[in-house]
């Protein structure tokens, strides 16, 4: 088993039995589910809405070259700059050199998963630039030195008391601080940073091809300040974030907010583009590999609403940090092997009960659990499955192809259970579960005795 798979097994083992963790996550997701139900009720036809979104994304993804070029042309026509990065390291390098070029000493960031993906903060810090996260959840993550737990709600795994403790350790504030007081402390601390920062860095929820603008959706207003106050704005955007035209956002904005948090719209749906000091970095970092797989291409339709995480029984049990990936939950399990390699990440394809909840709620109709099955098939084809597993399936295949061997296997298993040696033999299963009580008689024996009756 590779180190990532081993790490995943250890982390999930610990988290799944952490009852405090479970209580916090269940409380948060229940609040979320109630809000989303109210949000969906504001649509006359949710199903049509997400089918239309899927159709728009299909059009973009299957003509992506055209839309990328159109977007680039329109950004440049308005005086902005477009940079292309094949890898995460390249994107970070471009951001670092832009910072150097503009004499930047301090960067404020609005929430962006893609900058987590490319490990931008360490790269900037290594170049002597101070980096501050400004989304409250991300700020708390930064104070704790932790990666985001969830792509939309970065500190869903923490309760108020734990966050108050972090603030207490960093700033000496009260352990009894309320959510409002904690948000107030962050507002005050970060206000000064916004005003003194030289560069703002954001991601992009959307890149609008026909206007050359990027769309940012936030509630706090931090993206507004990140892009308005510093001299230079750099937006790092995955190439899959394109939508053809501005009108598409009349659908995508409510879709993202409704499944993201249950709001009809996030507070600030902002479009930015067209100034001398606006830079967009278009990032590939493995996305074209997923694009090349026509069967699974629609995974790139994802708008990162985070709904499949909240809907997933596995995510809720094992927690966002166990995955060890930037994108967690069903969609993360599905895309990570494509983006970061099958050998290291195909074990995540099994982090699913295949219940299909993720596909049912997906804002853009991605059949995520089917793709997890495709991933399992593909990883076996590429021999990413462990040797012992491959051998066991060989033996099993051999057994089920012969009626007499299959019967013998059943007899042996029954015997093993009766003798009490099955328990230790099947420890991986029996450690947490009981073995089923075997019926007195195998079906084939029953059939033989009752066939004539």
């Amino acid at each position: 088993m590779n180190t990532n798979a081993l790490q995943f097994r250890r982390a999930t083992e610990a988290k799944a039995f952490d009852l405090d963790h479970r209580a916090i996550v269940v409380k948060n997701t229940n609040t979320y589910h109630a809000a989303v139900a109210r949000g969906i009720a504001r649509f006359a036809d949710w199903e049509t809405a997400r089918c239309r979104a899927a159709a728009v994304k299909w059009e973009v993804m299957n003509h992506l070259d055209r839309y990328l070029e159109e977007f680039e042309r329109n950004v440049q026509a308005k005086g902005g700059h477009v940079h292309w990065a094949e890898t995460g390291a390249e994107a970070s390098q471009i951001a670092v050199s832009l910072a150097k070029q503009h004499g930047v000493r301090k960067v404020v960031k609005s929430k962006s998963m893609v900058t987590e993906e490319i490990h931008l903060n360490p790269a900037l810090e290594a170049a002597g630039v101070t980096v501050l996260e400004t989304d409250l959840g991300e700020y708390i993550c930064q104070l704790r030195g932790e990666p985001p737990y969830h792509i939309v709600t970065p500190v869903m795994h923490l309760n108020r008391a734990q966050i108050a403790k972090t603030f207490n350790e960093k700033f000496g504030t009260s352990l009894d601080a309320t959510a409002e007081q904690l948000a107030g402390i962050a507002r005050e601390k970060l206000r000064a940073e916004f005003l003194s920062a030289d560069m703002g860095i954001s991601g992009g929820n959307f890149a609008v091809a026909d206007t050359g603008m990027i769309g940012l959706c936030t509630n706090e207003g931090n993206a507004r300040l990140t892009t308005a106050l510093p001299r230079v704005h750099v937006a790092i955007v995955g190439i899959e974030k394109l939508v053809p035209k501005l009108e598409d956002l009349a659908l995508f904005w409510p879709l993202l907010a409704t499944r993201g948090t249950g709001q009809f719209l996030t507070v600030y749906n902002t479009l930015i583009g067209g100034s001398e000091n606006f830079h967009v970095i278009l990032l590939d970092n493995g996305r074209t590999k997923l694009l090349a797989d026509a069967e699974q291409r629609d995974a790139l339709h994802c708008i990162r609403c985070g709904a499949c995480l909240n809907a997933c029984p596995v995510y809720k049990a094992v927690g966002g940090h166990s995955y060890g990936t930037t994108y967690q939950g069903p969609i993360g399990s599905m895309i990570t092997p494509h983006l970061r390699g099958w050998q290291d990440w195909s074990h995540l394809s099994y982090a699913s009960s295949l219940c299909g909840n993720c596909a049912d709620i997906c804002s853009v109709h991605i059949p995520i659990h089917h793709h997890l099955l495709h991933n399992r098939r593909n990883s076996v084809r590429q021999h990413c499955d462990p040797l012992i597993q491959r051998l066991m399936f060989r033996v099993w295949l051999w057994g089920v192809q012969s009626a007499s061997l299959y019967a013998l296997g059943g007899k042996m298993a029954r015997l093993a259970i009766w003798l009490g040696i099955a328990q230790p033999l099947a420890r991986a299963w029996t450690k947490r579960r009981d073995l089923p009580e075997p019926p007195r008689q195998a079906f084939r024996d029953w059939w033989r005795n009752n066939e004539r009756a």
């Binding site: 089918c51 207003g221 106050l229 190439i239 501005l246 600030y268 026509a294």
Partner: protein
């Protein structure tokens, strides 16, 4: 070969094979009927904790340091935006469906006006209320043609966060209060 060429070439190679097309969506309307525009706007806007200001002088009396976008509707202020405790702006339009205000700005100063001061007041005409987001985008297209300003923001209520235990807190980084005043002309 540049990164740009490499990426675009990979994209072109990839999309030569088309993915299966998703089923054609139905033509059914996505949204329920909006109702009367102004009533709907008021209902949605106040549900988002926006305030409708009836008496402008009374509201303004509460603020000593005011910055404005110097538009005809917003008038002139007395301090720069970084010092203001109230930012006053006009807007492109207001959206009944969502209780939102659409602002558009060209300068850095203007961009900060609706985001930096603790209170944001929008002065608007009733005729600026449009029914839904699609209509709002139509207004933007009409007003700006191809030359969109550097920032467009659809603002729906005061700044907020629910990052801590999903408890709603108003005034995360942007304005803690958002108000609209309709002028009668």
């Amino acid at each position: 070969m540049s990164a740009r060429d490499n990426i675009l070439n990979r994209v072109r190679d990839a999309v030569r094979t088309k993915a299966p097309r998703p089923p054609e969506p139905s033509a059914a309307p996505i949204w329920p009927p909006m109702g009367e525009a102004e009533a709907r706007f008021r209902e949605e806007f106040t549900a988002l904790r926006g305030e409708i200001v009836e008496s402008l002088p009374e509201f303004l009396a509460g603020f000593a340091k005011i910055a404005t976008d110097k538009s005809e509707l917003a008038g002139s202020g007395n301090v720069p935006v970084r010092e203001a405790d109230l930012g006053v702006t006009s807007c492109v339009c207001l959206v009944a469906q969502t209780g939102s205000i659409v602002v558009a700005c060209r300068s850095a100063e203007e961009r900060a006006l609706s985001a930096l001061p603790p209170v944001h007041l929008v002065v608007a005409r009733r005729s600026q209320i449009v029914l839904d987001l699609e209509a709002a985008i139509g207004v933007l297209r009409k007003q700006y043609g191809g030359g969109f300003p550097s920032l467009i923001s659809v603002i729906s209520g005061p700044s907020r966060t629910a990052d801590i235990e999903k408890v709603l807190v108003l005034g995360a980084h942007g304005p803690k209060r958002l108000a609209v005043h309709f002028i009668n002309k």
